[in-house]
């Protein structure tokens, strides 16, 4: 399968590595010979807020953000965030969701309740063409560092997109500090295995 154009929306919580992952995904687009743009919003994100980052691949990309209802793949680093952003997906689009659950302050102060995992997944399945759930944190731990969680998620994404894995691996290794190269390589391999590559 050759990808001509692709809209991706990366979402998650500040500190999860969403922005680094979306940087890498944009670079992969360029490396595949396409034009690519990436756009993020991270105002208060470092303080545990919501992070969103758009990645678009096409022969020529105009707007740096996707249009609601045109996202081919929603890449959610956190389960609740997948649910929050699902209405950006195109009809029949795919959700890659890390099943990690990060309690928002509204829940820990008692103003709201974090929904049941199964209820959220069911709601996603009802709306998306396909839902790929990954439990990335334990895989990252197994690889040697929880900080490689975003690499595990990218590995799942690369598997789903049927793109050459070496392009992704190269883009990841170019982006992470050299001393974390090996642990990321392992995380990428484990992530692909878990995604059924």
């Amino acid at each position: 399968m050759t990808i001509e154009r692709l809209n991706m929306l990366f979402v998650g919580v500040g500190g999860q590595g969403v922005l680094t992952a979306s940087d890498i995904a944009a670079q992969v687009g360029l490396d595949l010979g396409l034009d690519a743009k990436k756009s993020e919003v991270h105002g208060f994100a470092q303080r545990g807020g919501v992070v969103e980052s758009h990645v678009r691949w096409a022969p020529v990309v105009g707007a740096p953000i996707c249009e609601k209802g045109t996202v081919d793949v929603l890449v959610a680093f956190e389960l609740l965030e997948a649910a929050r952003w699902i209405d950006w997906l195109r009809v029949g689009g795919t959700v890659v969701v890390n099943t990690q659950q990060i309690t928002p302050m509204s829940v820990s102060v008692g103003d709201a309740v974090y929904p049941e995992k199964e209820a959220l997944l069911a709601a996603l399945r009802k709306r998306a063409g396909r839902v790929v759930a990954v439990d990335a944190l334990p895989i990252a731990e197994q690889a040697g560092s929880t900080r490689t969680m975003n690499t595990v998620i990218l590995a799942a994404l690369s598997t789903l997109l049927e793109t050459p894995p070496e392009v992704w691996e190269r883009a990841i290794l170019r982006r992470v500090p050299a001393k974390y190269g090996e642990v990321n390589r392992v995380a990428f391999r484990l992530g692909r295995e878990a995604a059924g590559a």
Binding site: A36, K38, A83, R90
Partner: protein
């Protein structure tokens, strides 16, 4: 080589390529990364100034000396610098001077979404509006050339979407360059750099003429161009809006402006005459639209169908066009949002370990007796639950002046101003001097987290480090406050809950002029912050009193286990988030929160 650069990275690159040798800025979202990136290039000097006016004044001095220079700030920062900005337009510049204004359409991280293109018309200088990173890189050089050709300050204006989007830019690795000193300063016979009334009166007609000449230049400048297509519809657009226009109105004729002021009116008039219907798509104010209308050019649609508020998106541009019956593709069918389960909001919160936590915990417990004036920084989040300890907030450095005014006008409550270290240096010193001078009994809490935190940890005059991380003279906040004649000045450990509470009580009870407490503790994101053994809750000892939830720490969660007597949830700590700051342990009445033995043994 093609490289993905953000708008901010591209501006830094463009400035370096165009020979800028001095740059000054005050950090502010979405502008911050420009100077951080520029500082990495060889042969230049780059600095954080104490505020935006200082940054512009620095740049004016550099320009008057003959250097190419940029001053960088967010949109509201230009308000701070505006005094000098208006007058440097009169004097004119020597070395090229570009003011980079990073506007925040959408107010993602700002107190308003003002459209700074209005400053260009107000101050009578040109404004460039790049539409992607490659243009951002190129326009810096074009703007500097224009600045020198017409001896005018020039604004390069971005919005958040451009600042923080990455697109492909053609770059090669930077070559080595040595820093060149300026030629000897030439004092001219005719005074031009001293803006006394006689000079201002002489210069005013000259800058009106300058503006006319720049408008003439704009007629043939390559930054303004027409992409001819179907002439049934002609779209005039500028800046990032071009990206939405080229997708939504694919195939129609587009006049893409690279500058929003002054406009190439002849070019626009010709374009208008050749298309059946002219529309204007621009972000925020009808800045171009109003100019076209004033020139008598018929505009079929503009702000009547595209929103004035918030940033533009593909969806907003399409929706406006569809509503007006313009020939564009319909709105794509969307996946419906989830309504069968409630999705809780995820508001930002003070980070685990944050040095502001113990202060706001105490302030929220004493808040019934006080009025709290806040300021701009991470501590603005004191307004959010669980603290809800902020009553007014308006702009950088305003807390002290507002608290003072409230008191002097007869406010009966004690007035507390909370301000950060960087904000104190930015614009907190003058209002404190004023409060000392006018003798109000306000309390000023300077929350010194040893960094400019909100914008992503930038150095400031109080940190002892430069933009490049080199050691420098640290300006001692306590010494400054004492030197102003404040009679109550106390430093307190930010994580000592009891000491912070006691100091706050003392300070608010003080009645011999302003009382200042300096709450000192490093932001968790800088090396000066030392994490301690992480904490855990001994479940059997927890009585589910809920006090630890009131410190508002994202690491403290409600446990599934309940306290039998009350049926309320006990607390549990997320070990992935905890930094061991102990604020929760200090408020726990049963000592149920203790260091994790494994961390303690490992010497963390």
């Amino acid at each position: 080589m093609k490289q993905l650069l953000s708008g901010n990275e591209a501006i830094a690159r463009g400035a370096w390529e165009a020979g800028v040798q001095y740059a000054s800025a005050y950090p502010g979202t979405p502008s911050t990364e420009i100077l951080e990136n520029f500082a990495r290039y060889p042969g230049i000097r780059a600095e954080w100034a104490a505020n935006e006016k200082v940054a512009l004044d620095n740049a004016i001095g550099a320009s008057f000396g003959g250097a190419r220079t940029i001053a960088v700030m967010k949109h509201v920062g230009v308000n701070v610098a505006a005094d000098s900005l208006m007058s440097v337009s009169y004097t004119g510049v020597f070395g090229g001077l570009v003011l980079v204004s990073a506007d925040d359409a959408g107010a993602f991280s700002s107190q308003n979404e003002q459209d700074n293109r209005n400053y260009a018309r107000f101050g009578k200088f040109p404004c460039f509006d790049p539409a992607d990173s490659e243009e951002a890189r190129q326009y810096v050089g074009v703007a500097l050339d224009l600045s020198e050709q017409f001896r005018t300050p020039v604004m390069l204006r971005t919005t958040t979407r451009l600042s923080h989007s990455k697109s492909a830019v053609e770059v090669s690795p930077p070559t080595e360059r040595a820093f060149e000193p300026l030629p000897p300063f030439k004092r001219e016979k005719e005074v031009t750099r001293v803006i006394i009334p006689a000079v201002a009166r002489k210069r005013h007609p000259e800058i009106e003429e300058r503006l006319r000449q720049i408008a003439e230049w704009a007629e043939t400048a390559p930054v303004n161009r027409i992409e001819w297509g179907d002439k049934r519809l002609g779209i005039v657009t500028v800046g990032i809006a071009y990206q939405y226009v080229r997708e939504i109105f694919e195939g129609f004729s587009i006049l893409k402006l690279g500058m929003s002021y002054p406009l190439p009116m002849k070019m626009l008039r010709d374009f208008a005459e050749q298309v059946e219907q002219l529309i204007v798509v621009e972000e925020l104010d009808p800045f171009v639209e109003d100019q076209l209308k004033a020139a008598g050019i018929a505009v079929a649609h503009g702000k009547d169908i595209f929103p004035m508020c918030g940033e533009l998106t593909l969806a907003k541009v399409r929706a406006g066009a569809v509503k007006a019956g313009l020939p564009v593709a319909p709105i794509p069918p969307a996946v419906p949002p989830i309504d069968e389960v409630a999705i809780p909001a995820r508001p930002p919160a003070l980070c685990p370990g944050c040095p502001h936590r113990a202060f706001f915990y105490n302030l929220s417990r004493q808040k019934r007796k006080v009025m709290i004036a806040g300021d701009i920084g991470c501590y603005s989040m004191g307004v959010l639950p669980p603290f809800q300890a902020m009553d007014m907030l308006i702009s950088m450095g305003a807390s002290i002046g507002m608290a003072h005014g409230f008191k002097q006008a007869g406010g009966q409550e004690k007035a507390v101003a909370t301000i950060g270290d960087s904000t104190f240096f930015h614009s907190g010193m003058a209002p404190l001097a004023s409060a000392v001078y006018n003798r109000s009994n306000i309390t000023v809490a300077i929350l010194d987290n040893r960094i400019t935190a909100m914008t992503g940890q930038q150095e400031n005059p109080g940190t002892g480090k430069t933009l490049q991380g080199q050691e420098t003279q640290e300006v001692d906040i306590t010494a400054v406050v004492e030197a102003m004649g404040v009679k109550y000045v106390k430093e307190v450990d930010a994580w000592d809950v009891e000491a912070v509470g006691k100091t706050l009580k003392e300070a608010t009870a003080f009645e011999d002029g302003p009382a200042v407490m300096v709450v000192k503790g490093a932001c968790v994101f800088i090396p000066e912050y030392k994490p301690l053994p992480r904490l855990e809750v001994i479940a059997d000892q927890c009585i589910a009193c809920g006090l630890c939830f009131k410190v508002g720490c994202p690491a403290i969660l409600k446990s599934e286990e309940v306290f039998e007597k009350t049926g309320k949830p006990k607390a549990v700590i997320d070990p992935l988030l905890c930094t061991g700051c102990t604020v929760c342990a200090q408020v726990c009445p049963t000592d149920a929160i203790v260091p994790m033995e494994s961390d303690y043994m490992a010497g963390r």
